[in-house]
């Protein structure tokens, strides 16, 4: 498996002098192709900063970020913007779909911004919507869709075309339990296609879908879980009468 996302000694400091805050403090994190990593931590632990830095929306104060083995700091501004459009997809708790565009247009927008023709983008957009089970809603507007359907459209947008880096911030936060589980099943399915994903959350049930859970505290990685292995049973002790 190849490393898709790599954070090496990433530190992020906001403010100066007495008001200086270390949002991230020498964080190392590698996510492989096909791997889903959850980052858990309380509010203010640095989860969201980690996500924006991994997605190249913000620069680290120290350390480096590599996507597909390429160091972001060594890329030109234009190359970074292109890499963001082509490789990285975001999923947010509140979906962040554009209300004036249909589901399909929302999904194809990043492709068209990147120069893909409308026709080719539409083919890829419909493919992405079909993979998430919402192809029949392609012509609908976001306010005509349920929360679960909107999040599926948002995930389709995050994974359309060649996009294979998925960064999600509490992606099931606005959904009920059944829809949240359906969304996580689809995300896991996407991982099987070689997508590398980071989900930040404070919800252990959501995090439990990940291959690995990393615990963040005061900007530092303090611990992580092993991938689930072992017997395929729930191992409940024998009952006694």
């Amino acid at each position: 498996m190849t490393a898709v996302i790599e954070l090496r000694g990433v530190t992020k400091v906001y403010g100066e002098g007495a008001s200086e805050v270390h949002a991230l403090d020498h964080v190392d994190l590698t996510v492989l192709s096909g791997e889903l990593v959850a980052v858990m931590g309380p509010s203010g632990s640095g989860k969201s900063t980690l996500l924006t830095i991994a997605g190249s929306l913000e620069d680290p104060s120290e350390g480096s970020v590599l996507i597909d083995g390429l160091a972001l700091a060594e890329m030109s501004r234009n190359d970074r913007a292109r890499m963001r459009r082509r490789s990285i997809g975001y999923v947010f708790q509140d979906f962040n779909l554009l209300a004036g565009l249909t589901a399909c247009e929302n999904v194809t927008l990043p492709l068209e911004l990147d120069g893909t023709s409308s026709k080719a983008a539409r083919v890829l957009g419909l493919e992405a919507l079909a993979a998430l089970g919402v192809a029949e809603h392609a012509a609908r507007f976001p306010d005509e869709l349920s929360g679960g359907e909107r999040q599926r459209v948002a995930i389709a947008r995050a994974l359309v075309g060649e996009r294979h880096v998925l960064l999600a911030d509490e992606p099931t936060g606005a959904l009920d339990s059944a829809n949240g589980e359906a969304v996580m099943r689809l995300l896991r399915k996407a991982m099987e296609r070689g997508v590398a994903g980071i989900i930040v959350t404070h919800d252990a049930r959501l995090a439990s879908w990940a291959d690995r859970v990393v615990f963040l505290r005061d900007g530092r990685v303090v611990d992580q879980t092993a991938a689930p292995v072992g017997p395929e049973s729930l191992l409940v002790p024998e009952p006694t009468t």
């Binding site: 099943r185 252990a204 859970v213 092993a226 689930p228 024998e238």
Partner: protein
């Protein structure tokens, strides 16, 4: 886990042999609770003694007896289905006690103790979710059991998070300094 009542529930569908009851019990509980034959027959004998089931009059060692539920058994089953389990007294929870005694232990980093447990419970949740995600779509029994286990573990993780946040807001008590007497406002709580 009430095996007698689960057996009454299976018998309410019609008369059954002991071996079949054992198989059905396992399948119907998501195959996560195993039951040995001895337990089944001991339980059936007790239910028969209490007049909640009756069996065919056959000779031999009882292995081939067919059991049916009685009217009293149906009444007991209906009562059990509608009676919530006892939740009034909190259980004597080892984790809570561990955290409480750690509060004043010298040289103990309570945040680290909480994290060790958080990791353990999240790993258990990953295990449950992994099994649930691999199960067949129509395996409703397994999904229900896995959900119950996930919500139970999630509650523990939430408590650990809340404890962590509470301790962060308020400095830890000095090691080894116990309060002389319980606070006047604190009710004496006797846990089972």
């Amino acid at each position: 886990m009430s095996v007698p009542h689960a057996l009454l529930a299976l018998l309410s569908e019609g008369p059954k042999y002991g071996l079949r009851l054992r198989q059905e019990f396992e399948v119907r509980t998501g195959e996560v609770w195993s039951l040995n034959v001895g337990q089944v027959y001991t339980t059936l004998q007790r239910l028969e003694r209490d007049g909640l089931v009756e069996s065919d009059e056959t000779d031999g060692d009882g292995q081939q007896k067919r059991y049916r539920i009685t009217e009293a058994g149906s009444g007991e089953l209906a009562h059990w289905l509608r009676t919530p389990p006892d939740t009034e007294l909190p259980p004597r929870d080892e984790l809570i006690i561990k955290v409480l005694v750690s509060l004043r232990l010298p040289g103990v980093d309570l945040h680290e103790i909480l994290q060790v447990h958080r990791r353990h419970f999240v790993e258990a949740m990953q295990h449950c979710t992994h099994i649930k995600s691999k199960a067949a779509d129509d395996d409703i029994e397994l999904a229900l059991v896995a959900d119950a286990e996930l919500f139970r573990l999630d509650a523990v993780v939430r408590w650990l998070d809340a404890a962590d946040a509470r301790l962060k807001r308020r400095p830890l008590p000095e090691p080894g300094v116990a309060e002389a007497a319980p606070r006047a406002t604190r009710k004496s709580t006797v846990w089972a």
